[in-house]
């Protein structure tokens, strides 16, 4: 069965902290994605990666960076967390252009 896991379901951090969100997939997929979900805005793409050590900016990359050192793992980094980064973060992976598999999400609160 397809599996995408995220390191935390809920996270509370303080303004200015460096935050790491981890995502692991067990399907040997080439492509991995980080989305941010906010009410009324749907899902917006932050970054994606189509191969190890490769990354591309999505629609809202400001304030974020990513790392993909191994095929199965894709990390989202908030260099200096701010309150406007309080949100639900969803990771996804795919091997085809027409289906993505999502993790359960991490609800991040920055105080």
């Amino acid at each position: 069965d397809v599996k995408v896991t995220q390191s935390s379901r809920y996270l509370v951090k303080r303004t200015g902290e460096k935050v790491f969100l981890e995502c692991v997939q067990d399907m040997d997929h080439e492509n991995m994605f980080w989305y941010r979900q906010d009410p009324g805005l749907g899902l917006r793409l932050i970054y994606f990666s189509y191969d190890v050590k490769m990354k591309e900016k999505g629609d809202i990359p400001e304030g974020y960076s990513v790392s993909r050192e191994k095929k199965e793992r894709f990390s989202l980094i908030l260099e200096s967390a701010s309150t406007n980064q309080t949100s639900m973060y969803l990771c996804a992976s795919s091997s085809t252009p027409y289906e993505q598999y999502f993790g359960p999400g991490t609800r991040l609160t920055v105080t």
Binding site: G40, S94, P104
Partner: protein, 116 residues
């Protein structure tokens, strides 16, 4: 570039009634279309997808959607809803391509609330 508009942010409905969740898209190229469902406190799960062929697509949990190219719509329907269908539903689009990676463009979501 592609975009997606979900015409209703919330849809209340009584149990066993039919429901339609509306989705319109815009694109200058051929696209694949999707509906995802998100149950409370969970990630997104694929309900159904249109890639090619028949314009009526059947998905899981009794849902179906119809692709209408002339109206650029992909509305989701279910003839009789259950309490367990209460969730948020997202329409999404990506451009057709033969390989490589895909960027999904999502609508803002429609919250379906099924009442007893």
């Amino acid at each position: 570039a592609q975009s997606v508009t979900q015409l209703d942010s919330q849809v209340p409905v009584f149990e066993e009634a039919p429901v339609e969740l509306r989705c319109n898209y815009s694109s200058s190229v051929s696209v694949y279309l999707f509906w995802y469902v998100q149950y409370p406190n969970q990630g997104l799960q694929l309900l159904l997808k249109y890639l090619s062929g028949s314009t009526l697509v059947k998905g899981i949990n009794g849902f179906e959607a119809e692709f209408n190219k002339s109206q650029t719509s992909f509305h989701l329907r279910k003839p009789s809803v259950h309490i367990s269908d209460t969730a948020e539903y997202f329409c999404a689009v990506t451009r057709q391509r033969s390989g490589g990676y895909n960027k999904l463009i999502f609508g803002a979501g429609t919250r379906l609330a099924v009442h007893p």
